[in-house]
């Protein structure tokens, strides 16, 4: 052995073109590893870092639920006549909407908050907004257990349409993910996005049949208008499938036929496309814009 022998280079490594940062990239395994790890650590951070932990995520929607239940049943007398299981519908709607709101509004600042990581390491950028969605999903799944207890306690019997519930959830996840992607990169450039989104989310809460049933207006035009909102379609479907009330109108009925659902479908697909497009376009430059 000669002391001067050059070190044996790590054998068999071929050159590979490096194209810079991107939304995906780095292989699917690493993407999902990172997504899972970031979501879990964030979930742990929030719920083991506070005294009441997970309870906070439950107390918030429950408090909102109690107040709204009181206001809408005792003051406005919404429930009872129109909805068979108004409290259950209200709770389920609040829990699902809380998920949408939490995931999207957390995603707004997510990329900027991770500035240190973004500017110093290379990894699929898409992980960041999607991790906030996944973290919110963990909360949602835990809260849905509570919803299930309520559903059973209020005497709703299990039916086969419950199996359709996950499909509705998938639509909700897709929409939430797309909005999160768009918001997270837009915020890097335009800081007003944060304020705008709190307002928009507030408006969305009222134009989605959560506090009131779709047919509360007793006016087909309003019902049709509501069904332009893809969230309204998703929430109405969930109500039908889970609570299976005999007199609840289906989204198709509310929209005045299948054609009436076209705007909602267009908005849904448009949001998905826009989210994917803008994130893909901005991802390579995020580190420079920060």
């Amino acid at each position: 052995m000669s002391v001067d022998a050059p070190p044996t280079p790590t054998a068999g490594l071929g050159l590979q073109r490096v194209s810079g940062p991107s939304a995906l990239g780095g292989g699917p395994r690493r993407f999902f590893d990172l997504l899972w790890l970031m979501s879990v650590t964030e979930f742990k951070r929030v719920y083991f870092g506070t005294v009441l932990g997970y309870l906070w995520s439950l107390i918030r929607p429950l408090l909102l639920f109690s107040v709204l239940l009181l206001v809408f049943t005792k003051v406005f007398h919404v429930g009872g006549t129109l909805v068979e299981h108004y409290p259950v519908m209200l709770l389920m709607g609040i829990v699902l909407f809380t998920f949408f709101q939490e995931a999207t509004s957390n995603s707004v600042t997510s990329v900027v908050a991770q500035e240190g990581v973004v500017r110093k390491t290379q990894f699929p950028r898409l992980v960041i907004p999607l991790a906030t969605v996944l973290t919110a999903t963990f909360n949602l799944l835990l809260n849905l257990i509570v919803v299930l207890i309520f559903v059973l306690a209020f005497g709703v019997s299990p039916v086969w349409t419950w199996l359709l519930f996950p499909i509705a959830l998938l639509f909700l996840f897709a929409l939430t993910g797309a909005v999160a992607m768009a918001l997270s990169v837009l915020y890097v450039r335009f800081r007003d996005v944060a304020i705008i989104w709190t307002v928009v989310a507030q408006v969305l809460l009222y134009v989605t049949p959560i506090l009131y049933p779709v047919n509360a207006f007793n006016n087909p035009t309003y019902e049709r208008l509501l069904m332009i909102n893809p969230l309204a379609v998703i929430f109405s479907s969930i109500r039908i499938w889970v609570l299976h009330e005999a007199d609840a109108p289906t989204p198709v009925h509310s929209a005045g036929g299948w054609l009436g659902l076209l705007p909602a479908a267009a908005i849904f697909l448009g949001t998905l496309a826009y989210g994917a497009w803008i994130f893909r376009r901005e991802a390579p430059r995020i580190a420079e814009e920060l």
Partner: protein, 423 residues
């Protein structure tokens, strides 16, 4: 050579030959940044002035550079601030995207950029280590297996469950460095880390570097510390204004770097901030000029350590002066006089110099340590001339190695290691 000794001696790897496979190949890499003169940060401004051409200026960080780093090579990148070296590193690390040109890398790459790999300050050290490992391309399982090794290397066992926001900056850097070491990448990109931690941790880093070098890892080091370039690198490259100014032998590159650095530093503001102190009005004589020149006689402000110092002084005489004497005192930055050069001036016609101008050229052996130096000049005659000019000139002695003490005398040495044959 006795064979049994060899195993204990760590082989000092020489540079991989030119036929070694490439680890990094960069071709015609361009990168520029658009710097808006007025940043449009809000949608409102966009909405109010939708057609306003947003003014920006183009900052060219890299102007089409090409180079190749071979596998097993320890490659240094040096350059002044703003030379484009950090941009280059971020392009190599896939943090920025190049405008044009190509980068090819063989194997997995671990970056270590700007002190701290990019930690989430709300998470504990353990969580951050795993997260970072996964970012570098390891599986979570693999990284959890190495977690203890990382924490131990960083000497942070007691603080492993502490959130990073409670860490000192030194602890954070130690952790980051350890993650990079354990990430087991094929190519390592390292930016300014040699001043990490305390003395014992620095030694650990130095050992680790040597080991990585011995293992044949490809390492790209960006640094200001020329000593490190000399000590570790097989080859180096000097960047200046987005171009490769010099590439090759590390000693040469670091010399070029120091020259470039001090030259521009002196030419800019420092010259103005150190004005020559006002001299007393000369009675019959004045110092018209004092400058340091290089071998070609061109004015310079830098002298390499060990190279002779060439001086030129011009003295103007306003009346005949007998017994003229010029004294030049070289002092260091702390104003400690290092030595004096005494030049008695005698005219051919006797002591009395009638001429108007005397030029003194001197060559001084240079025992000075690196650093800034000043020259004070005194002109005297027993017959009424006494001029003293403090800090009449300044120059910087530069060297690749920092040296303790105020002088660095030339020296020779030899040594014998017991049991080894003479070479």
């Amino acid at each position: 050579m006795p064979v049994e000794n060899e195993l204990t001696i760590q082989p000092i790897p020489s540079a991989p030959g030119p036929d070694a496979p490439p680890a990094i190949r960069v071709k015609d890499l361009h990168k520029s940044f658009r710097i808006p003169t007025q940043r449009v940060d809000s949608l409102k401004e966009r909405a109010v002035h939708p057609f306003a051409t947003r003014e920006h200026r183009e900052l060219h960080a890299l102007n089409g550079i090409s180079f190749e780093i071979r596998q097993g090579e320890f490659f240094g990148i040096v350059g002044r601030n703003g030379s484009g070296k950090s941009t280059l590193l971020k392009l190599l690390a896939s943090i920025y995207r190049a405008d044009s040109g190509s980068i090819e890398i063989a194997g997995r790459l671990a970056p270590f950029i700007e002190l701290g790999v990019g930690f989430n300050h709300d998470l504990t050290a353990r969580e951050n280590v795993v997260l970072n490992g996964v970012m570098m391309g390891l599986t979570p399982r693999e990284m959890r297996r190495r977690l203890d090794a990382v924490i131990d290397f960083a000497e942070l066992r007691e603080f492993a469950d502490l959130k990073l926001k409670n860490y000192s900056s030194g602890m954070m850097v130690r952790l980051a460095f350890s993650v990079m070491m354990e990430a087991d990448a094929d190519v390592l990109l390292i930016d300014e880390v040699l001043a990490v931690g305390d003395a014992s941790f620095q030694q650990k880093c130095a050992d680790a570097f040597h080991q990585m070098k011995a293992e044949g890892k490809t390492i790209v080091l960006v640094t200001h510390e020329m000593g490190a370039v000399d000590a570790y690198c097989h080859r180096a490259m000097l960047l200046s204004d987005g171009d490769i100014k010099h590439a090759g032998d590390p000693a040469e590159v670091s010399r070029e770097y120091l020259k470039l650095n001090f030259a521009s530093e002196l030419n800019s503001e420092l010259e103005k901030t150190i004005p020559a102190e006002e001299n007393e009005p000369g009675e019959g004589a004045d110092l018209a000029g004092l400058r340091i020149v290089d071998e070609e006689g061109e004015e310079t402000q830098t002298v390499e350590m060990g190279d002779p110092i060439h001086l030129e002084a011009e003295i103007e005489l306003l009346r005949p002066v007998p017994g003229l004497h010029v004294g030049l005192v070289v002092a260091n930055a702390d104003d400690v006089s290092m030595f004096e050069l005494s030049v008695p001036i005698r005219s051919k016609d006797g002591d009395n110099i009638k001429g108007r101008k005397v030029t003194v050229s001197a060559t001084i052996q240079n025992p000075l340590s690196p650093g800034r130096h000043f020259i004070h000049c005194g002109i005297q005659s027993p017959f009424g001339v006494s001029v003293f000019r403090s800090k009449a000139a300044t120059f910087v002695v530069f060297g690749t190695h920092p040296s303790k003490g105020i002088i660095a005398p030339e020296h020779e040495y030899e040594y014998v290691i017991e049991g080894e044959d003479d070479l």
